[in-house]
């Protein structure tokens, strides 16, 4: 077990190293440097910009800049956000927990929903219910993340205004509410983003869960279970599902990158002030330090999540550790 974790940890380190290096190279290969963009204003002379470059160390050799950037990133120094006029680290420290809340809730809900749907499908493979659920899932799987968010927003925040369209709390009234009122206010703001992200994730999870179930269905022990008189439904629920659940933890790890992308669009549409909205706004403001830092932090979070998923599988299934 220890060897497995060590090996997997080494892989995560490679990922983080690759992301940092690629991020650094991209920023430096791109036309124009952060200073020229941030100080592209009338009245700022080239001499002033040069002075800023020197104070940020942008005139040093590339190798030295790279080491400095890796060292700083490792210590959590992610630079200065030109659009917020605050250290990038502080901006991200505020946004990250909000994204984790959104993504965490959606992962829990979509797994529960996805597994239920897959079981319902497998109870009668090829039947009416299987086909229709399959079509609906494929449709959800094909819908652009941001478009589903826009449509849900349009329907349930504007046409039938039962949920707030944006933000995490009511901008005016929240401070005047009682404790339970504030809690309800927060929950109301969570409903639409979490529902959208859950629907998007359920499509992928359920499709994979169904094929994981389909894979164990022809096993000899399933045949035995049915031969000894179990109903098909009971055999699926009690025998097949337990054996097909483990692969979906691995899937959760593999699906995290897509989930991060989905969260970005959902946050953008619902103005949910997490990492995704931060990145989207940083693009508009051309705030390079903030763009690179949010890409970096999100990638590291995804790598760490995938690592956790793999370790969880190895802890549950000894076969994984051996191979």
């Amino acid at each position: 077990m220890r060897r497995f974790v060590a090996g997997r940890l080494a892989q995560a380190v490679i990922v983080v190293f690759l992301v940092t290096t690629v991020t650094f190279l991209l920023v430096h290969l791109a036309p124009g440097d952060p200073i020229s963009v941030a100080l592209d204003k009338p009245g700022v002379t080239e001499a002033v910009r040069q002075q800023w470059r020197e104070s940020f160390g942008l005139d040093r050799p590339l190798g030295e800049q790279y080491l400095r950037w890796v060292g700083n990133a490792a210590r959590g120094e992610l630079g200065w956000s030109f659009s917020f006029r605050r250290p990038v680290r502080d901006v991200i420290a505020e946004a990250l927990p909000r994204t984790l809340l959104l993504v965490g809730l959606s992962v829990v809900f979509s797994f529960a929903l996805g597994i239920v749907v897959a079981v319902l499908q497998t109870e009668r493979p090829g039947g009416h219910r299987d086909r229709w659920l399959g079509r609906i899932l494929l449709l959800l799987y094909s819908v652009p993340d941001f478009w589903l968010a826009l449509v849900v927003l349009l329907l349930f925040a504007y046409r039938v205004p039962i949920f707030p369209p944006s933000g995490i709390v009511d901008p005016v009234l929240h401070d005047y509410m009682s404790f339970s009122g504030r809690l309800a206010d927060r929950l109301r703001h969570l409903v639409l983003p979490v529902t959208t992200l859950t629907l998007l994730a359920t499509a992928a999870i359920s499709r994979h869960q169904r094929s994981a179930l389909a894979e164990v269905m022809p096993s000899d022990w399933m045949r035995t279970a049915i031969a000894k008189g179990l109903s098909h439904r009971r055999a699926v629920r009690r025998h097949a599902l337990r054996n097909a659940l483990l692969p979906s933890i691995t899937l959760a790890g593999l699906y995290l990158p897509a989930l991060a992308a989905g969260a970005l669009f959902v946050e953008k549409v619902y103005s949910w002030p997490g990492m995704g909205l931060l990145a989207a706004n940083a693009i508009v403001a051309r705030d390079y330090p903030l763009i690179t830092a949010s890409v970096l932090i999100t990638s590291v979070a995804v790598a760490f999540g995938a690592l956790l998923a793999d370790v969880a599988v190895a802890a549950a299934d000894p076969r994984v550790r051996v191979s």
């Binding site: 690759l18 991209l26 941001f146 478009w147 992308a261 693009i283 990638s299």
Partner: protein
């Protein structure tokens, strides 16, 4: 059932093809994709207006659907139907171009890694593993925002450059499995050169999973391109693309619903058709999967 069917008729190419054609998903997908492709190719003939022309910025901006403009106009008074037709060209050409490039590269890398093995394989696959765990959208966002809006060809190259990892992994796994099979060992024993074995025996057997991956890959690239355009960093404006039309109305979704609805449906229908075709292909190529309409526990015999 009846008499036992000969092995070849269960997994042979003819059986695969007839399974594919008898699948309702295939037929629907092909019809939909043909309509989308034809309307993109003949966009100049079909579009009632120039997709980038600002028709009348005083009287025509943000008009709801009408007879003159069946899908309304955008805030710059451009005709949405015309933009939608031309937008299909962007989605399809980026999707097809990027996937063709990514497939060629991914197959080459995967076959090389699987066939050569050793250190080459280890290094390549560690790299691919790492690359696969980075969210593709984030890399695209970085590049597209740092370089400003991209042209069509850089965008296609970017999508291809970030899209070959999964295929190379798939092809490597297939190649590794094939390498030990009797017919390859026999070919080697007969003195066939490694190149000949690769081209004549390995690649044809890799074609099926690669084709499935390609079909699903096109769907993915279309979604990613739409996403980038929605974020305002897709193909350079004023070029029409489906995501860009939605972006033009995104600030006022509640008033300008037609700017969200029509291009969104266009993306959804196209991507759905690609995914359905990919699913149908996979089921047709892989008889081990649950056959539709048979009892699951009998799947092994089917």
């Amino acid at each position: 059932m009846g008499s036992p069917a000969p092995f070849a008729s269960i997994i042979g190419p003819r059986r695969t093809f007839s399974r594919l054609l008898h699948d309702s998903r295939t037929r629907i997908a092909i019809v939909v994709l043909l309509i989308v492709a034809l309307s993109a190719v003949f966009a100049p003939l079909l579009a009632p207006y120039d997709p980038t022309a600002q028709l009348d910025i005083v009287r025509l901006p943000s008009q709801p659907p009408s007879f003159a403009h069946p899908m309304g106009t955008d805030p710059y008074s451009r005709d949405v139907l015309s933009r939608l037709l031309y937008g299909g060209r962007i989605s399809l050409s980026v999707g097809l171009g990027a996937v063709l490039l990514a497939m060629s590269f991914g197959i080459a890398v995967g076959a090389a890694a699987g066939f050569i093995g050793g250190a080459v394989d280890a290094v390549l696959m560690r790299f691919v593993d790492a690359a696969l765990s980075i969210p593709r959208l984030l890399v695209l966002i970085m590049v597209a925002s740092l370089w400003g809006s991209l042209g069509l060809i850089p965008l296609t190259l970017l999508m291809a450059g970030t899209g070959w990892f999964a295929v190379s992994r798939l092809v490597r796994a297939e190649t590794l499995a094939l390498r030990e099979r009797e017919f390859i060992v026999a070919a080697r024993a007969l003195g066939a050169s490694p190149t000949r074995i690769l081209v004549r025996h390995v690649l044809p057997n890799v074609a099926a999973p690669a084709l499935v991956a390609a079909t699903l890959g096109i769907a993915n690239v279309i979604l990613l391109e739409a996403g980038l355009s929605y974020l305002g960093i897709g193909v350079r404006p004023p070029t029409a693309s489906w995501g860009a039309i939605i972006q033009d109305g995104a600030e006022r979704v509640s008033d300008l619903w037609w700017l969200t609805l029509f291009p969104g449906l266009a993306i959804l229908v196209t991507v759905f058709a690609c995914n359905a075709l990919g699913d149908a292909l996979r089921d047709a190529f892989d008889p081990r999967q649950l056959p539709r309409g048979t009892d699951a526990t009998l799947a092994k015999e089917a």
